[in-house]
Structures are given as structure tokens and as C-alpha cells.
Symmetry: C2
Subunit: 228 residues, 2 copies
Amino acid sequence: MKALVLFSGGVDSTTCLAIAVDKYGADEVLALSVSYGQKHSREIESARKIAKYYGVAHRELDLARIFEGSNCSLLTGSTEDIPKESYSEQLKTTDGAPVSTYVPFRNGLFLASAASIALSHGCTEIYYGAHSDDAAGNAYPDCSAEFNDSINRAIYTGSGSVLTVNAPFIGMNKAQVVAMGLKLGVPYEMTWSCYEGGERPCGECGTCRDRAAAFAANGIADPALKGE
Amino acid sequence: MKALVLFSGGVDSTTCLAIAVDKYGADEVLALSVSYGQKHSREIESARKIAKYYGVAHRELDLARIFEGSNCSLLTGSTEDIPKESYSEQLKTTDGAPVSTYVPFRNGLFLASAASIALSHGCTEIYYGAHSDDAAGNAYPDCSAEFNDSINRAIYTGSGSVLTVNAPFIGMNKAQVVAMGLKLGVPYEMTWSCYEGGERPCGECGTCRDRAAAFAANGIADPALKGE
């Protein structure tokens, strides 16, 4: 194996997967989906289908126990509702603190897990779909440029200078990610982003709104809303 | 909870636990033991007993699945034997590469998991027993000063400047750690370091040798070798 892709089955990580497969070929790519106790499992079903579509090896890792003490609104057992606002709207109410959908140090945990698994399989590269919209203020501090720089250096030095983190979208917004994915023929109708777990995306939660806007900026409707 | 201690039940992390309890009191300390598919579970038994001795909350986390693809000699299913050499002897044969007892990015994974759990429980500090002997050459790259600096910064920034990593022994060798622990009355007879899983420490593996030397430097025999 050459590359591990952190793969949720959403727009960004599916575009990452397309890039990795384009570069290395499907046989050299390992897609890793991590569950963390989300309220729904619709996302992982999309991830399985897309991994099969691309013909890549797919591993699923369940880290839900780690967040047992957390009351993050995305998690099973939380007393908080998932907010019906875009990221930027959520930000206005949090006064610089992490928002209720911040899963504690999730991205750090995901990347560290990815590093251990990547090294265990001989990979030299982790693909990671972070982009500039993610780093909205301090709402998700584990999406900031400073965090990314630090964790990337930790992974490079901590692996004995073997493993690098490739975040190809770090200077892009989500609309630019979609533009790149459309060129690569990414099957966006198979992806899933919605925080809710219904049959169809809710169209109202923060991720649904941000996603719709990214497709609109490319002159098309969200392909996932066209039905399966 | 105020502090989470990464707690293996060995000499260094037990001394860390003693420091955290001394500072915050037992009620504010959470001890976290992570298993990763080690060939034996003797270590975790020691950790349980010591956590009970100190009266702290104790969580156990099993991350063995993450290392399923690895052939590290410490892991169940590995085809490699655990080397009967001290760290410095192992180093001579590896030509600067990680040794066979390097568990891929283990410390990064442990610290990231600790960060997620610490934040989930409202802790603001992680105690971590790394010391200067650990950073032997590039044998364990996830023990180097550069790695520690990077991961600590990743945890601080990725938590929204809430959580710090406290590695009180980072400038000390193991003999100095033991000297500090003896002052705090650490029950070293309850600790376990041996890579093998017998009833008594083997006295021959790298950790047994390094541990015996640390006690000898303090003018005493390893208390764990006196029997239980």
C-alpha cells in the first residue's frame, strides 16, 4: 500500500480518494472510515459503496468509546440537538469558543489513528480532506492551519520521517474542492454529508447548507438531492 | 476532572500519577490505560491495582485493532521475537531506523486519544511520562523532542487552547524519575515494565535491564524483583 485516505464518504474525502486513486491506482490505496459514535450511520453506508465503486481496500474503525464522556451534539447519548445553521451562523453565537458540533480533538485522533494504520501497512502518505472553510474562526480548533501544521510535523517526525500528510485542499474552499472533483468525475450522488440520518439529506443542517452552496457555486444542484 | 494521566502501570507513568495526585487530589485525576495488542496483559493488571491504591478513576481503552497490520515484535500475532537487549544495544543494529519494538506512531495515537478523552471529561492537563532515555537516537521516533514539541502544540491548538501536555520528566533520565518517585513514596513493587508476560519480570528484556539500572543508580534493587 502507498496511500491511506481518511474517508468519511462525504464530498471532501471522496474527492481526496479520487485524487489518490488517480495518482497511485486503486490497488495501492487504503480508505479508512472512522466512526466516533455519530447519531446515525448513514455516512458509513455511503463510504462502503464509494470504496467499492473505486475498488479500493476499505477499513472501518470504531472509536466511539473514546467520546463516551462528551456531550457533543453529534454524538449518540448527547442531550444537545444538532443545530440547523451553517458553520458561519453557528459561529456568531459561540463567541470564539468551539461550537456544539466540535467533537473533542476528533481530527487529531483521526490523523493519529490514520498514521498508526498507514505505517502498519507500509503507506508513506495520508490523504486528508481539510479545506479552508473548515477552519472557521475557532469553532473547530482542530481544523486550524496551526493545528494542521503541528499534527503534520508530529506525524512526520514521529514516524521517523517516513509518513507525510497530504491535505490537497488546504488552500481551497469547498466550492473549489467540488470543481476539482467534477473534473475527476467523482460520483457525488453517492456521497453523504448530512448530520441527520434520514433516507434523504435534510437540506437544513450546517453541512447540507454548506454543501449545497458549494455545488451552486459550480452552477449545479447537489447531485445527492436528485434521489438515489 | 482536572488531569488525565497516560498510565501503563510502569515506572514512569506511575511516578506521573503520583505527581498528579499530589497536585490535584485523587478525585480530580483520571488514569487512562491503553492496550494495543501487546503479547501479554500483565501490565494492565498492575495498572488496575495501582489505580485502586491511589483511589483514582481508571479507564481502559483497547486500540489493538489499529495495529492489526503491523509486525512489531511486541504485538500478538507478530512473527518477531522480543529482543533481549537494552535500548542502547538494540540501537547499534538498526542503523538509525526504528527498532523492532517500535509500535507505529503509538505515542502519537496514545496522546491524541488521551486528548479526546481528557476534553470529553473537562480535563485541562495530560500527564505523560516521557523522559530523555526514551528518545534514544531514532529508535523510537515518537519519543523525540521534536515529536513531543509538535504533538503538544497540536493538542494545545487543536483543543482551542484548553488542553496542555505536561511531561514532567522530559529533561530527566530514568534514574532521576525513580529518585523523584522514591521521594513521593511511589509503590514501585506494584509496577510492571517487563515486555514478557510471566509471573515475575524476566530480568533480561530491554525494559527490565533499563529499569534495574535506574534503581541501581538510586542505590536499591528493583522492588518488583523482591516478590509480591
